[in-house]
Amino acid sequence: MKFILIVLSTVLCFESYGKDSGRVGNGGGVLFCENREPILLDFYEAEFIEAYRYENIRNLPALEIRETLHRRINFFNPEVASLLEHLSIFFDERVTYVDDAKFKIPDDFLNLYYEDICELKVLAVQRKPIMSFDKIFFINKVLWSKVNSMTKVGLKSHELLYFVTLTLGQKNSKSVRRALSYILSDEFTHNKEKFKEKFLNEIFINSSQNEFIKLKINKICKKLKGYGHACTFN
């Protein structure tokens, strides 16, 4: 009887987590830890699990971090770098900064683990539009003002890459978190080939060959055009 009650309670707890909209992609999470700078979940996981480091970008201004990211991607695939530039403009057109609100914790984050001095908060959410001109990206304005440039650039890049992977059929942001952690890490400098492969495979779903990536870029371009945004890839 006790076992049945436990099972029932567990099931009911999942039920009570609430039914989220099917249009909402799982969001950009940030960890707010005692006595530390808030940090993007992608970087936190990489530091915690892989022991990657981010000292080279931690204190850079936002513009330089963006340029670092662009330079690294452009080095091994200029078309992907150019796609992300397109997406960055698209992001700025379709973002809303939301005041006076919190975003719900998505299912994607239920199985995460982190130190108990930290609290995971959702800073950004991406939602599939119904009308082509609907806003797509939503940022918690209050939390945004509390994070540093590394997390801001990381978060925006996360959302752009997540747009790509959602278009290509992914259901959550795990691959994006891994990809971003590779490309912006200090370790990238000494492992370019290996990290390039890992990055492309995570984002383009096991494709690192240029011809397959081109096909997938075309698919993303088509989606952008469907949303009323010019996309000039052929």
Binding site: K19, S21, V24, T96, A101, P106
Partner: protein, 375 residues
């Protein structure tokens, strides 16, 4: 009482077309209508979640009273969806006897698809619950504590939410109101005037609306727009490019008695019965300019095509040309005899409808019917 009087009274009572308690909605279900409580004020969730999150949208319906606002709503819906404008207006006009107001009600936790946002200092609450309409009970329960604090626009929005979900949840068997809430807010917004009918079709597919009565014709809306046999497309001028004929027989529309009608410029008054025909407008069976309607019958009102009286024909095929949104009959084919001879086709030659005789003696069939002459 005289039986004739009773019968006539009964027949007259059937004249209002939408006592929705007569509908056997296909599944037992229910839906909730939500408000957002911030401090002591309440707002309809449908509006708050769209207008507060997306600066593209702002409420812009006019009206000082609920009736005035609803009137504006119906006018808007009718602009791009005449049948639903009629239907929803009628459903809502019959709603009041269904409602039970309760002063303070706990409707429990919502099982709907709710927004990803939790506004600071606010709670989302159910203020109305709707169950399947049933002759013996009320079907709408409203917490009057919340209802009395809603604005005119939110009360009007409640009625539209109700009508949309009567179709979306009960008739179309969906299990959340995310898309119907969005539709409610979209229709009441400043974006309405910028959208054309074709812009609503993807939304209709999300709502699982099965048919649309557009330009006097019932069309089927395919849920999968890559399925060409059920696709429905309109160009930017509002002309149908592809569409499969529907019958208007989906049960919620039956009582509207709206029949498809195509007016042919070269066959005035020629009245096809488009229920249960085969064929589609453009697309699979033809092109943008020419399509076929198969298995056609005529309505009794008119059966003359030029001098030919086709009322004896049970099933035939019409080849239609479309130019600048106007329809012309190119030819009629089918099991047709004229003066005992098998007819290959009846077509319009220099403005005169002419029977082209089929000389092949093997082409006769048991289904052939002799056509008469219209005087």
């Amino acid at each position: 009482m005289d039986m004739r009087v009773l019968l006539i009274s009964f027949l007259i009572s059937l004249n209002t077309f939408a006592d929705f308690r007569e509908f056997k909605f296909l599944r037992e279900s229910e839906f909730s209508i939500h408000s957002v409580k911030c401090g002591d004020s309440y707002e309809l969730l449908d509006y708050k979640e769209l207008y507060q999150l997306d600066s593209n949208y702002d409420y812009d319906l006019k009206g000082e009273t609920v009736a005035e606002v609803l009137s504006s709503y119906f006018a808007r819906i009718s602009e791009f969806d005449y049948a639903r404008g009629l239907l929803y207006r009628d459903w809502i006009s019959h709603l009041e006897p269904e409602i039970k107001f309760i002063n303070g009600m706990n409707f429990g936790r919502s099982r709907d698809h709710l927004n990803f946002v939790e506004w600071d200092g606010c709670d989302i609450q159910i203020f109305a619950k709707v169950i399947n309409p049933n002759k013996n009970t009320k079907s709408v329960f409203i917490d009057s504590k919340i209802w009395n604090k809603l604005s005119v626009r939110d009360k009007a929005g409640f009625y539209i939410n109700y009508a949309l979900n009567l179709e979306h949840i009960f008739a179309n068997r969906m299990n959340h109101t995310e898309y119907s809430r969005y539709t409610n807010a979209l229709l009441a917004s400043n974006q309405f005037s910028k959208l054309k009918t074709k812009d609503y079709i993807p939304l209709y597919r999300l709502l699982r609306f099965e048919q649309i009565f557009y330009k006097n014709i019932w069309f089927v809306l395919g849920f999968n727009s890559t399925d060409r046999t059920n696709a429905f497309e309109i160009n930017s001028e509002g002309d149908v490019i592809i569409g499969t004929f529907g019958s208007g027989g989906f049960f919620i529309f039956e009582q509207l008695k709206l029949k498809s009608r195509i007016d042919f410029l070269n066959a005035k008054g020629f009245d096809l019965d488009l229920n249960y025909v085969q064929g589609s407008y453009g697309g699979v069976y033809g092109s943008k300019e020419t399509f076929f309607i198969r298995n056609v019958r005529l309505r009794e009102t008119s059966s003359c095509l030029g001098r030919f009286n086709l009322k004896t024909l049970k099933h035939f095929t019409v080849k239609v040309n479309v130019k600048a949104g106007r329809h012309y009959i190119e030819s009629i084919t089918g099991p047709i005899l004229f003066n005992g001879s098998k007819v290959l086709k009846i077509e319009n030659l220099n403005g005169v409808w002419t029977a082209i005789i089929d000389r092949d003696p093997r082409s006769f069939s048991n289904y052939d019917r002799e056509v008469g002459i219209c005087k």
